[in-house]
Amino acid sequence: MTTVDVSVLDGVGTSPRRPDGTLKVRGEFAFSSDLWHEDMLWGATLRSPYPHAEIRGIDLTAALALPGVYAILTYQDVPGAKRYGLEIADQPVLAMDEVRYQGEPVAIVAADHPETARRAAGHIAVDYLELPPVTDPEEGDLLRRVPVRTGDPHPTADVVVTGEYQVGMQDQAFLGPESGLAVPAEDGGVDLYVATQWLHVDRKQVAACLGLPEEKVRLSLAGVGGAFGAREDLSMQVHASLLALHTRKPVKMVYGREESFYGHVHRHPATLRYEHGATRDGDLVYVRARIVLDGGAYASSSTAVAANAATLGIGPYEVPNVDMVADVYYTNNPPCGAMRGFGAVQACFGYESQMDKLAAALGMSPVELRIRNALTTGSRMPTGQVVEGPAPVASLLARVRSRPAPPPSTPDLRELPGGVSNTTHGEGVVRGVGYAIGIKNVGFSEGFDDYSTARVRLELVGGEPAALVHTAAAEVGQGLVTVQAQIARTELGVERVTVATADTSVGSAGSSSASRQTYVTGGAVRAACQAVRATLLSRVAGATDVVGGKLVNAAGVVVADLAEAIGDEPVEETVEWRHRPTYPIDPKTGQGDAHVQYAFAAHRATVDVDVELGLVKVVEIATAQDVGKAVNPLAVVGQIHGGTAQGLGLALMEEIQIVDGVVRNPSFTDYLIPTILDMPPMSVDVLELADPHSPYGLRGVGEPPTISSTPAIVAAVRAATGKALARVPIRPEHITT
């Protein structure tokens, strides 16, 4: 009898080196902005300078006269659908009679040099009639209202606290600007190489706008320099394709940094009005909430963002009586859509601020109040959905509370608020500690057919078994390529695994968003590997399992090598894999099992605040998160660090400032994101409590860290300053006045 080693090098639960890591560190990774083609043209976009205007005419004469210009296109040149959108096709490919936000594309140019293209765009004469912009969402048209109501509509409670909170417009601030290359094909179609989050949803929209069947629009994923939701909507995809088809030449488009701020959606600014009622003992009796989200000029994914805000809007707590309404409105502000946390971020700032306020009113510790009301397995959400599987809300809070407190800061300027800018040597510095916990749905909700497709091929290469994994899932920097290979190694017992470039020659993988890809595409890869195994087993009499690269029988005895079973006949299987179905919510009551999985993270933030100057140094962040199964532990911790940093940014600095519909800070000079001197050391406590329904028991990881870090930091700053701080990001003057 042969013993079999079941552990596979670099399989599930290990942290193999990612293939793009060294290249990125060395600056050698090819991003979408590095694409190149012989004889290619460069595209440029003319954008509206006004948030709202009527277009009375467009004169291309002067622009067309520039040498080197090959084409200038307007909406009249769009052969197919004139509008596109993720959920509602309301966004013009190029503006028609009206522009509805500053930066809206009006015309596109192809030229033999990027400078010529930009210059030509500047020579296009657009006759605008400025119109008054709608910039207050509550004066805009309602896009979606999502009520969630349960229990007694007229509850009373011993202790009641109310609050109104505001969240500014955060940007995803990816470093790789929107870019791609469109190559006209001989069949009249187009091959598009682009950095995106979801190749197939891009293809569907691009094909419709080009008036082509989908099979004539072929997309391949180019190197993605970050996404965070900002690449869910189209940017330059249709534009480059139009120019390529029109000129019969490859066309490359790369947005500049400033243009990028106009080129993608942002996080919805929100106003959140809450009323929490509790017994004197601290049991939550009711929550009333009204959430107003500014959707901007076009729908994007606003309707789903509003549903998240509503269905997750009271947090991970048991509340018998809930009256929640989340509204999202159209305005003439920049369009808002997907960003890491997706509606749950805004709500969490509201409900966690309220929990602190309630704790103060009750004279309880903020952590005790939260633990007392924490959701657990079997709890009912306000939508009526029962929480299945582990829901360690109380335990996550207890874990971050029990971490040792960080030591007092030393006189090193880098440890003090203001850093080396030398604003304090300790004067005015007060320490504060704050806690928060958040809840996020994993995967697409409300009955969406959320699936992924994986094709796995097992063959002999040089006599050794090797697997090829092919999906259309977008690696956006999160490490999905590595994870897919790990799963194939574990399932097939082979070490040599290649992950093919994601493209549309295989079925849809769904979006790299909603913390879903390891779950759904991971699930699809596992299912495809299992199908490959089944085929292999059917080839060898008596074989019942593949273990450690060997086929074994029911007694565990090796009956064949993998190589023998494969022989000259490679095995290839393609599988479409779905998570459990979700269901729509009732439009009046919000009742329904809308979500497939909940994920939780808790944060404790320790801050030093210079209370005289309003400057903040986050000293330490402790976090605990249940990930079900850490498929790649190092990548999990990386996601938790990165997500926490993005939440820190929202708490303390990140905001697109808009005045009368006009963006005032479209640059990294004035849109500030945290640097390494802003990001503190973190203690990360990763729990692995298996979800019985998901592959390997895993739970989506990417978004929860972003959700609760913001309110935890704000709570810590409140503790240090005694200020109410009802708005994020906190600005120094909010502390000093």
Binding site: N422, E427, L613, L615, K617, N665, I676, R731, E733, T737
Partner: protein
Amino acid sequence: MDFLRPSTWEEALAAKAAHPEAVPIAGGTDVMVELNFDRRRPPALLDLTRVAALTEWGGDGDLLRVGAGVPYRRIIEELGGRLPGLAMAARTVGSPQIRNRGTVGGNLGSASPAGDAHPPLLAAGAEIELASVRGVRRVPVDEFFTGPKRSVLAPDELIAAFWMRPARTGDQFAKIGTRNAMVIAVCSFALTLDRERRTVGTGIGSAAPTPVRAPAAEAFLAASLDWDSPGAVPPAVAAEFGRLVAAAAAPIDDVRGTAAYRRHALSVLARRTLTWAWEGSR
């Protein structure tokens, strides 16, 4: 766009005289941003990086002459002991990469009200050496700035160097930003206390159309400090000094902060830097 590459100072001056519209470029940390953001399309760039003389510094009696092309990193490493206030300001400029490239001469050339090097130059009473084929002149730094991004620099002139007295006593610099590194000043303040001469110098950044001094605050403090005393600065003196510094500013509301916050922060920085400089000068 023409790219002029003189290799000597004489050639540079000749090139500037022949192409007064050429924009000088040293580290490129301001100029390249302007070009990349398409805010500026000069017909020519005048590259000064091959002019070795610009990267030298040396003494001349009581004064140091520092070439306009000395990068911030060298100011910190080589001149930190002699020009501590300027070195503190240099340490707040951008990132390590920017400090390797950026120069005080470039900062002066841009003449931004937010230039980090300007307040310590003002506080120290530095002089800026300007040169052209017509000759050389030295301009007191508080006469150098004429408006936002404007200076007395003539179209045919280049910034050769700045002259500054080494600090024998307390120099301080502090800058407010909304993050802890790599940030443009919301406002900044520099202070020089010279116990020997019993003089006070100040410089305010990002809180007026140009970097400015606070002359009333300087005069008040020079008259109010007990220069012979080893004791602490009386709180009332520090508070009044802070008030006068804030009053010297003419800030606006913008994306980086409000006018009211800038005034408030300047008063706090003035009080704090006074305490530190007084301690440091003992």
